[in-house]
């Protein structure tokens, strides 16, 4: 897939489709502790890829490698390549801010900027990346982003209220809207529903369904049903006693859940361990 990127701002980009992401032989360390070993995974454009596996198997680390959040930890190192539309994001000369703008992230714990209003939270990414926008475009963008995150109806009359005033589930959808507002090609989600109640969880899952036409989604989840509901392809991570984590099996979600090849995958998706 070829996307002609307007590198000065992602805002003008028509919401045509997401980018393809490919991880090649990713290894990752924290200090001398190797947590991932030669993980390769293809995440095609406009699909939802779920990363599943027990705690501590390196799936969150893998996710953070994909948009260069891994290197924020001082002792963190890595090897391998991450290709976004065929270009290695770790190659020198690629600006880290540009990469993170193109590959957005939603975190486990909702983290809106508490002092900012709901509207300002949505447009925070523009301000942070120095993107100027006219007042009417800004209002359009706020409505469009909140609608895509299925939050618009609930907050349209209180856009001036602080983001911290929302419930946990609403805060998480606000964070999704904030990520979508900079129009990323890929959206990484690190257990986005683990702190949410079932209703909010369902709404986030609906949002994922709706946005995948425009954005490639990679989601880490501990919830098997969620992985089965939202994803088209699935990768099962495992770190066996003391060894670094890696992918045991990956493929179409219906195959991983219906007819897994590896015994360990079968045990895990059927809830026999983990």
């Amino acid at each position: 897939m070829t996307v002609i990127m307007d590198t000065s701002s992602g805002i003008g980009r028509p919401e045509t489709g997401g980018g393809s992401l490919e991880a090649r032989n990713i290894s990752a360390w924290f200090g001398s502790n190797k947590v991932l070993e030669r993980v390769s995974l293809d995440m095609p454009a406009n699909t939802v890829t779920a990363l599943i596996g027990p705690s501590g198997c390196g799936k969150s680390t893998f996710l953070r490698v994909l948009n260069r959040m891994h290197e924020l930890v001082p002792s963190a190192r890595l090897n391998g390549e991450v290709l976004l539309d065929g270009m290695d994001i770790y190659e020198s000369g690629h600006r880290i801010t540009e990469t993170r703008k193109r590959i957005g992230m939603v975190f486990q714990k909702p983290n809106p900027f508490p002092a900012m209003s709901i509207a300002d939270n949505v447009t925070a990414g523009l301000k942070l990346t120095g993107t100027r926008i006219s007042r009417s475009d800004r209002e359009d963008l706020i409505e469009r982003s909140l609608t895509r995150a299925s939050l618009w109806k609930e907050v349209k009359d209180r856009l001036k209220e602080p983001g911290a005033a929302l419930s946990g589930g609403q805060q998480q959808r606000l964070c999704i809207a904030r990520s979508l507002a900079v129009d990323p090609e890929v959206l990484l989600m690190d257990e986005p529903c683990s702190a949410l109640d079932p209703t909010s969880t369902r709404r986030v899952e609906e949002t994922i369904h709706e946005i995948r036409q425009q954005v490639t989604v990679v989601i880490v989840t501990h919830n098997m049903q969620q992985a089965a509901r939202v994803s088209q392809q699935c990768a099962f991570f495992l770190a066996e006693s003391g060894t670094p984590g890696g992918i045991v099996e990956s493929g179409a979600t219906k195959d991983i859940f219906g007819s897994p090849v590896d015994k360990r995958t079968e045990d895990y998706v059927n809830g026999r361990f983990g």
Partner: protein, 340 residues
């Protein structure tokens, strides 16, 4: 006897039940009780000592306030031998020195704190933290000597430059000819400006430490949120760290202001005492409340002593108010609260 034998059914059943919360015994173990009592005792004793100082100074001030009344605050000269004294000039001098100190210390402390908490590599970070702490451990007499012998010969040139180029602003004016060569004993020496630089070095570590601590508490989730949106590090600092740390910035600045107002020995060493009300920090001569007390304490008669203690009382009240305000601001802000 008869009361005891009264039949039970004689008491009518109450219509409405009045609920009283039952008392709950915290049932603390002995070790907790001992700790509680000791901690409470020490906590109270701090307040008692503080209060006792205030009461002592207040009582000592009564004769002076009776004698001079409100003119104690408006009179600028301090001539106990002529029965004329007041703290107008020294109060102005105190605030001028403190203002200069804060103008220099604030940007330095803020940048140092930001660099240490946000940019420095881990090893550099711990080294810098201990260096800043070490700065706080330098005795004020040493800062005074540094200011007098090392800083002053250099600072008079800065003062001269400021006067030459910005002298049209009253704050930078010096009552002398700017074209005269600045030499060591000129009108630029022994000024509030030079004393203020020395004081700024003393208050900088405290301000930097308070700011650094609140900056490092800025929530990691919000930091990562900003960075994941494609923010630069400075953008993240402006959006997350500085708003979060606002209380600490204000509080740390005011705490150091409180200290700058009371700083004595370095000021005594550097300034040449003068008792006119002026806002020209670059010019020779000023005085502060604490420098006045230190300078006159030795040869004071009992009436003069009361007057000096009164000056001390005024300073005590001012710093108490400033520190209380600072503590309130820190406690009310997000950075003071335990943000999750």
């Amino acid at each position: 006897m008869t009361m005891l034998l009264e039949p039970a059914e004689a008491a009518p059943a109450p219509e409405t039940v009045i609920e009283v919360p039952r008392s709950i015994d915290p049932a603390l173990p002995i070790s907790d009780k001992v700790f509680f009592v000791v901690a409470k005792g020490i906590g109270i004793s701090v307040l008692v000592i503080m209060g006792a100082i205030g009461v002592f100074l207040g009582l000592q001030s009564i004769p002076t306030f009776r004698r001079y009344g409100f003119s104690f605050f408006t009179e600028s000269s301090w001539q106990p031998e002529n029965d004329v004294l007041g703290i107008a000039a020294v109060l102005v001098g105190t605030f001028t020195v403190a203002l200069v100190a804060m103008l220099i210390a604030f940007p330095l402390a803020l940048s140092a704190a930001l660099y240490i908490s946000e940019y420095a590599a881990p090893k550099v970070k711990s080294f810098l933290i201990s260096m800043v702490d070490l700065m706080a451990a330098i005795p004020s007499i040493v800062w005074g000597l540094w200011g007098f012998f090392l800083l002053q010969p250099k600072a008079i040139h800065v003062a001269h430059w400021l006067h030459t180029h910005l002298g049209w602003i009253p704050f930078f004016h010096v009552d002398t000819d700017p074209n005269a060569a600045p030499w060591a004993q000129s009108r630029y020496a022994a000024s509030a400006f030079i004393a203020g630089i020395a004081v700024s070095m003393m208050v900088l570590p405290m301000a930097a430490a308070v700011m650094r601590q609140v900056f490092s508490q800025a929530p990691i989730g919000e930091r990562e949120a900003a960075l994941a949106l494609g923010s630069t590090r400075w953008g993240m600092i402006r959006t997350v760290v500085l708003p979060f740390g606002r209380g600490g910035i204000i509080g740390g600045t005011m705490l150091s202001l409180g200290r700058a107002l009371g700083e004595t020995i370095a000021v005594v060493l550097i300034i040449s005492p003068a008792f006119d009300i002026k806002f020209r920090p670059l010019e020779i001569g000023t005085s502060t409340v604490s420098a006045l007390i230190a300078g006159r304490f030795g040869e004071a008669t009992s009436a003069q002593l009361s007057a000096l203690l009164t000056a001390g009382f005024v300073l005590f009240v001012i710093t108490l108010i400033i520190n209380t305000l600072a503590a309130t601001i820190v406690a009310r802000s997000r950075s003071g609260a335990n943000a999750d």
